[in-house]
Symmetry: C2
Subunit: 464 residues, 2 copies
């Protein structure tokens, strides 16, 4: 057996590693600033953890990030530049809560007024908001009670706050929904930082005027595809960075077939993808330790397509939260704006995904459709189309939506490991954002920030 | 540029990935059972995190694991089989404690009777021992207070136990010394599990009749080299596993130049090294999540060699614990048994290693030698030889001594992700041991256990 490989050499001022929203935003800013760059992306598409698919029957599905809210100004500006329109997330009708005893509670409005544990849940979430207001999102280590909060899990905090088991179930589902993690594995400080970065707990949790406000007509990958179209040959797909050599003189990014040489690199990958690259010299202890305290959330996103959003006629919104033993934690109506089809999306996250993902195809599907029928009735059992994206098994992202930080990660490694450049290597990715960390919007601002770092370094060198 | 690679194909019944003590023990058991195997090791030597070097002047230094204690029966049996002799760790004379105010406290015996915070420290360590006695080391998730303890850090527990800052300093140094981590980042349950796996806190902390009891005349790699010598051509050095494909029919382990095919694989690597391998199909969420909640400790081991162990004449043992701002936390007399040279070894771990490891060579050395002079006097400032091993920057191990578990790691992933085989892939490594987890002894027993799993599977297939 002989394998022959021609190694190409590509030179540019800056090499951007990763073609998700962070890398694309960085490349676009370099393009706008007239800086020569090359972007390398391992997959055969751009978008990263945003993945829009048009199914055989024409329905557009977002397997990854999908929403945009009014304070997500970086994403809105990008969409506006490329003329990508949005429409409001459907939430008309009664929402449903499914409880662990099998009972269902329909309700109108943003939150049930008197569901089990709701008063205690609301009180604790207000405490979270109050503590989050003290977080310094630019220099988190300057937060007054930083070390104390980072040395405990969200679970420790919830246990200390309330004995109400239903309030604790609500808090656990919130942690699943926001970080695809369980309260027992996430740093309380990271929870507070993330709430602060979004502008408050309500911004994270609610739909109208909040993080889940609107969707893109093109799917959420529309702006990403538009950026890639504009950048043209500067974007190289199917090029997975295997190693990065860096020193004061520049960087060399090697893929299976090509060496990309540049003066600076912007690495815009999820933390666990960064760890698959061999760096020479090895990354500093602070950066490596930060990455190894940043596991990816566990999540799958599942869609079922029906001939119509039949639940609407029954007065249901299709929005549901489930506290039972099924795999799905939250359901949304993900139908197209014209309601030409009915689409339910389910989120399987945290502990829910672990055993479910090991089932065979038929059992996984049956379990999800059982969750859907609990919410909108028996018609949900026979969709026209059914599809899953198990992000925890995605070759490149290795989880989703984003990485969270385990206790002590911020304390031990944050100050120098979070996003401080490592010599000629700069770091982007939504995990490095101070505003809407974990969201598409944070990815974009992180790319712009990293590009600005590079541009200012290159121009100061040029002047010097 | 053209790169040409001839891909060799090597077939055997079992492929063992990793040539540390775990992989070597597995291969030796397969050899003894007459099972055809190949062991692939990425480095150009065996031993993994045990690394013995003979310096230019003839002094033997252990850069990695070095000690053996009387209850470490797997290591003792292996050493005995190959005639590797041991000698007692030197601890005659007064030990020294160096405090953060710069004061030094010499004392005789295993622990100072009345140092700062000693009573509170002793009380809390006894509580740890008491809780550890309830841990089920074979099926840790069956421990009564499992979820409660795993949802908190050691730091939360220490804060709840005592307000005494000096007791907390002692506890922090103990955590550094045992896990190369800080109390704020390690699961309390993991701490208790590990104490239980060693047979108690004293076994971990003390020298005579405990974990630090003796050293090997050949250095701790002596038995490893002997095993490799016996296994001969079955051990392939310089072969780094890049990908592993596995299904019911068998496994294919690919390195840069060779494909190793077998019916079963035993992967005997530290958790973060496992994560650099591409598995097809992807690892289950439970196993991947376990690995991503198992960061490596941060540690460097530094040696200074002198013409003689001059501190002994001054009545000092060379053993010290340091609570000051220097890089070194603990010092031992690591001289050869015949005292033909004087050798001090220093451990730089946890937070101490992070900034220190970013200094240039001269500053790192100066800081360490300042720690040594604080302990044994000014003569320590001018060694004949000085050498460091920064394990956190080791290409393969990526840290040391071992991986610890972050909060929630055991709860979320332990039951199925800790060491349960993944199809035809079996897991070894000291992190998978129930006895002396984290030690050479645990590595060996883990390799034997994994080999037994494989042998019993192969023979039941042969019968079937």
């Amino acid at each position: 057996m002989w394998e022959q490989t021609e190694m190409d050499l590509v030179e540019s001022e800056v090499v951007v590693v990763g073609g998700g929203y962070a890398g694309l935003a960085a490349a676009l800013r370099l393009h706008d600033a007239g800086v020569d760059f090359t972007l390398v992306e391992a997959a055969d598409r751009v978008g990263g953890r945003v993945l829009t698919e048009i199914r055989a029957d024409g329905v557009t599905l977002d397997h990854g990030g999908q929403w945009v809210g009014p304070t997500q100004t970086h994403l809105l500006a990008l969409a506006d530049r490329f003329g990508c329109a949005t429409f409001p997330t459907w939430e008309t009708g009664k929402h449903v809560e499914v409880w662990h005893d099998g009972g269902t509670v329909p309700y109108l409005g943003a939150a049930p007024a008197d569901g089990p544990g709701i008063a205690e849940y609301t009180r604790v979430s207000e405490v979270l908001d109050e503590l989050a207001r003290t977080v310094d999102t630019q220099q988190p280590w300057r937060t007054t009670r930083f070390a104390e909060w980072d040395a405990q899990t969200a679970e420790s905090f919830f246990r200390a706050q309330t004995d109400d088991p239903d309030a604790r179930r609500r808090l656990a589902l919130a942690v699943q929904g926001l970080w695809c993690a369980e309260p027992y594995e996430i740093s309380l400080f990271h929870v507070l930082f993330y709430i602060a970065a979004a502008g408050g707990y309500e911004q994270l949790m609610e739909t109208r005027d909040c993080a889940q406000d609107s969707r893109f007509v093109t799917g959420a990958a529309g702006p990403a595809r538009a950026v890639a179209g504009l950048l043209g040959g500067g974007v190289r797909l199917g090029e997975q960075a295997q190693s990065i050599e860096y020193d004061e003189g520049g960087v060399r990014v090697r893929t299976a077939s090509t060496v990309f040489e540049a003066r600076r690199a912007i690495v815009a990958l999820p933390p666990q993808a960064v760890r698959t690259i061999r760096f020479t010299p090895g990354l500093p202890v602070s950066r490596d330790g930060w990455l190894s305290h940043s596991p990816m959330g566990r999540v799958a996103k599942v869609h079922a397509v029906y001939d119509a959003p039949f639940w609407r006629a029954a007065g249901l919104s299709g929005v549901a939260t489930l506290y039972d033993d099924g795999p799905v934690g939250v359901v949304f109506d993900n139908s197209p704006d014209d309601a030409s089809r009915g689409v339910l999306v389910g989120f399987v996250y945290g502990d829910r995904v672990t055993d479910w993902s090991d089932l065979d195809d038929a059992r996984r599907r049956a379990a999800v459709l059982e969750s859907f029928t609990t919410v909108v009735g028996q018609r949900a059992a026979r969709p026209l189309d059914y599809t899953e994206k198990i992000w925890s098994r995605d070759t490149f992202a290795r989880g989703g939506y984003e990485a969270y930080v385990t206790p002590g990660g911020w304390t031990g490694y944050g100050r120098r490991g979070w996003r401080e450049p490592t010599g000629t290597v700069h770091w982007a990715g939504t995990e490095t954002a101070s505003v809407w960390n974990g969201y598409i919007d944070g990815a974009i601002s992180s790319g712009l920030r990293a590009a600005d770092e590079v541009v200012s370094t290159l121009s100061s060198h040029a002047e010097g």
